[in-house]
Symmetry: C2
Subunit: 569 residues, 2 copies
């Protein structure tokens, strides 16, 4: 959705004004568009690009040394008028001819074509270059009818570099046409886009579906099908482009994985791992790939892949330096590559010193308890996530499941290697902290480590030892985590748990009875945290109940305390 | 919505892998994060930044010469573990100490703090730096409790530059703390964000509302209120930050207008025009502003404004060169600024030569007809847009309304200046093409220009003249626009219109009768275009009927032909 505007009618012009203010080092505004802020010598071919607004960084983002000389800017999704194209190009030309570059859309063809006629009548040598990279928009037999999408960027980059080296207008035009002939794009959309001020989207894609080959203004695509995993989408994109490879294409390709507006950069990175792997499997060498937003369509959800089959000359221009708002090629401060440094040694777990038999048995029991705990937390993962999302960021279930699974594995490994109770618990705590991430991972790791330090590898822990271990774990959490009872953290469950456990043990109650009371206190603590004190069913594990709004850390602690009960000595 | 992933559990790690593949020139992967790919000399303070994933470009996008030495990367919205922070920092340190920089969130405070302890136990001088720029998250009296948001970028940029110049760890820490003390951010959200693989958003903002001060993980904000225009939002952001200015803040500020994930770059540019104007009005000098996505929150909709009150030293570091995936400061090829060139003269309309009285009267009639046409097209604007959106980009109504309004104004101006029929029509056509933009603007401009050339400024046009003018206009559209009947363009209405008009005139029918037939033929043509031939109501203007799917250009042509009817001589 487009939310930020003053007047929809002036959206494109105001956006261009803001762009010019920010990038005054690179561009200066002229009526209808922008020129480079830096001086361009006479005798250089001028590359003037443009089209409708709503496609940023296309086109003003590509003006600067090594790339375009000027960009003409229309209103949102509307070609600039003939007059504006003419005026911007007339200001940009330096006596050596002009290349007018634009996507192959009817309005742009018409307005840039008519402007070329007007410029020629002023004695300027003008060549028009309509980009035709979108393979979904027409068959290979009708390539001249294809639309221009993110291939614009590859072709204009190469043409701009050719012009910068001083080639004449015939040569720049030839390079640019060859680049266009060797460039192919293919895209998918997950959602449409909204014009500034419009009540609803300009077009839509069915929820959960992706539209294959949909045009960036909603022009009809090829098919709609359910959204697939990133790696499967990579296959769809890569294989379609390979099937459309130019006859004389070699193994070296420039690649642009382009986001259409609302597709997150990190999603593109994920997709890129699959795209790049597949391209390499198919025998391609990828040259200086671009992954990000390069030609957008307002807030459209989706992406496209562009490949340009390079030859020696095209590759040189693709890699040539440029300095624009969006793309900087060439290093600012040449820094030598890092040596293959001596990597710091990984911290390797100390070799296990076998424990005494009684403590080994306790260690094995601990490993089984962690295995059961990991299963319970995996089962509760989604519910814990849901509880956490009400107040936090919703990752608690995932972190607990991951941490406990790693702890269980480490505990089993240590127990199998003959470790005693203290070492098994220490291994579990260390693995939990290392794998879980987040706050809860660090807290559980610290707590388990503190508990393990109260135990030994020589004896099986008794009830008093276990009470002391729990107390030390709580102390570590309070000291290092900084939370107090009532702060809506796991302390709200952990604190009453320890109080009841140590109290009952001190009264001489059997461990199982003491632990049961403690687990019930933890459950009450988790519930009271949010002021909800259901009086029923408190003996059952929390995951079996209907849950209200409460702290996920306290809930998961209570769940753990119930799960461990049956593994007590 | 997050659509592109393979396994939600490995999303952050896979994204980092893709990032490293693309930016191999700048970074190399290590367990838990990235280090600079370029060598760093021993004796330089290492700046190690990090936090959870889902915030790209934070944090890996800021690793490179002049900025950070390394970034630690957690899972989505989860702090990296203590061990990962420790390991990445241990690899990055060069014997001169480490600054650990992170946003002030519980998990990060805990894990970076614990890692600092572990590093110190290895003899490394470590300073921790929790960024606290978000004014919405706690009062000024409790600044240490504030969260870190986009202010991260300003503080880390300055700290990185300070480290690069060779300052020792005490000095770098002092600069970084001063930068943090002088940095304030404030933001609004229009929508929540979706974790990879989640069925729904993590949190939501009521439709049409904006949440003021909402945290980037959905932490509670200050208030919710209806979305306002960009200029009003600028006031909310700027004035809140100014109210929070540090006691010793001067007039020079670094500014970051940050998009949270789904807010379009062009929207930020629009907002920036208002933000920058207001800051200047309030007496501030803006130093090298950044406008774009700098610290995001998956696909969250919204934005934040960050100001850092600079002093001489902070400004020097803010402006120092850096070379990272996201931010490049310093020019690649130093190019001189453009001279104040002799601007090309604006093409000025030729002065009006008064027409003969009869032709002047016809010119005035033409001006009235265009005024009526502009009113009709303004009224039909939304409907034409809707029809166009079914097959095209939805801008047809806007373009026609804008073009006809400009044409009407130009025609009235010309008629008032005494122009004859030909000159009035020529002025209208020229204005239409210049102001409408897009395909339809160019087409109408060409058609009206061709028609005007068949008329004269000496006589009032008769029926035969009008028929010839329409024929020439059609010819120009066919020749220059390249469309043929049946291509679903305005030609489908225009062609039968001209056939019936010229046929009936040739038969000697009165102009009004001939035109009526022609307009009806245009209506049929517009309808048949889409295979829809409703047999009823054909005599009424199209805008009054219920419209099916058809070409908007043909529909608007038919509407125009009906509207003009009552202005015929």
């Amino acid at each position: 959705m487009t939310h930020l505007f003053d007047d929809p009618e002036t959206f494109a012009a105001q956006a261009l004004q803001g762009f010019c203010d920010i990038h005054a080092r690179l561009v200066r505004p002229v009526p209808g568009g922008v020129l480079r802020a830096s001086a361009t010598p006479r005798g250089k071919v001028a590359l003037v690009i443009g089209g409708g607004g709503g496609h940023y960084p296309a086109f003003a983002g590509y003006v600067g040394p090594g790339f375009a000389d000027a960009a003409v800017a229309g209103d949102v999704f509307a070609s600039p008028s003939t007059r504006l194209v003419h005026d911007v190009a007339a200001r940009a030309e330096r006596g050596a001819g002009v290349i007018l570059g634009y996507g192959n859309y009817a309005g742009d063809v018409l307005n840039f074509g008519a402007a070329a006629e007007r410029l020629r009548s002023r004695g300027i040598d003008v060549r028009t270059l309509a980009i035709t990279d979108d393979v979904a928009s027409a068959s290979d037999a009708e390539r001249a009818k294809r639309r221009g999408v993110a291939g614009d960027v590859a072709v204009f980059k190469i043409a701009g570099a050719a012009a910068e080296t001083g080639l004449d207008v015939d040569a720049v035009e030839a390079v640019a046409r060859r680049a266009n002939d060797r460039t192919r794009s293919f895209g998918v959309a997950f959602g449409g886009c909204t014009l500034p001020g419009a009540a609803g989207p300009l077009f839509t894609v069915t929820d959960g579906q992706m539209a294959i080959g949909l045009g960036i203004h909603g022009e009809p695509g090829i098919a709609e099908r359910p959204i697939v995993a990133a790696s499967e989408l990579a296959t769809i994109l890569v294989d379609r482009l390979i099937a459309e490879a130019p006859a004389n294409g070699g193994p070296r390709v420039a690649a642009i994985l382009n986001g259409l507006g609302s597709t997150k950069q990190e999603e593109l990175f994920v997709l890129w791992t699959a795209v790049s792997a597949l391209l390499r499997t198919r025998g391609f060498e990828i040259v200086s790939p671009l992954v990000g937003e390069y030609v957008t369509s307002l807030d459209m959800e989706g992406c496209s892949l562009t490949l340009t089959w390079l030859d020696e000359e095209l590759e040189r221009f693709w890699l040539a330096p440029c300095d624009t708002a969006v793309l900087t090629v060439g290093t600012v401060t040449a820094a030598p590559a890092a040596d293959a440094e001596a990597e710091i040694e990984d911290e390797i777990a100390a070799p296990v010193t076998p424990g005494a038999p009684a403590s080994q048995a306790a260690g094995q029991r601990i490993a089984v308890a962690f295995t059961d705990l990991a299963a319970a937390l995996k089962e509760a993962e989604a519910e814990l996530g849901r509880i956490d999302a009400e107040a936090g960021d919703g990752d608690h279930g995932q972190g607990m499941a991951r941490g406990s699974a790693a702890a269980a594995q480490a505990a089993r490994d240590a127990a199998e290697a003959g470790a005693g109770a203290a070492s098994v618990l220490a291994a579990a705590g260390s693995a939990w902290a290392d794998r879980a991430g987040g706050t809860s991972g660090a807290i559980w790791g610290l707590g388990l480590a503190a508990a393990s330090r109260t135990l030994s590898d020589q004896a099986a822990p008794g009830a008093a030892d276990i009470g002391r271990a729990a107390g030390q774990a709580l102390q570590a959490v309070l000291t290092l985590g900084g939370a107090r009872p009532g702060d809506k953290t796991l302390v709200d469950a952990f604190h009453p748990f320890v109080e009841h456990l140590t109290g009952a043990i001190a009264e001489g109650q059997p461990l199982t009875a003491a632990w049961t009371k403690a687990a019930e206190a933890a459950t009450r603590g988790a519930e009271e945290t949010a002021g909800l004190v259901p009086r029923l069913g408190r003996a059952r594990p929390l995951a079996e109940r209907s849950l209200g709004h409460r702290d996920a850390g306290a809930v998961s602690f209570a769940l753990c305390s119930h799960t461990v009960l049956k593994h007590l000595p």
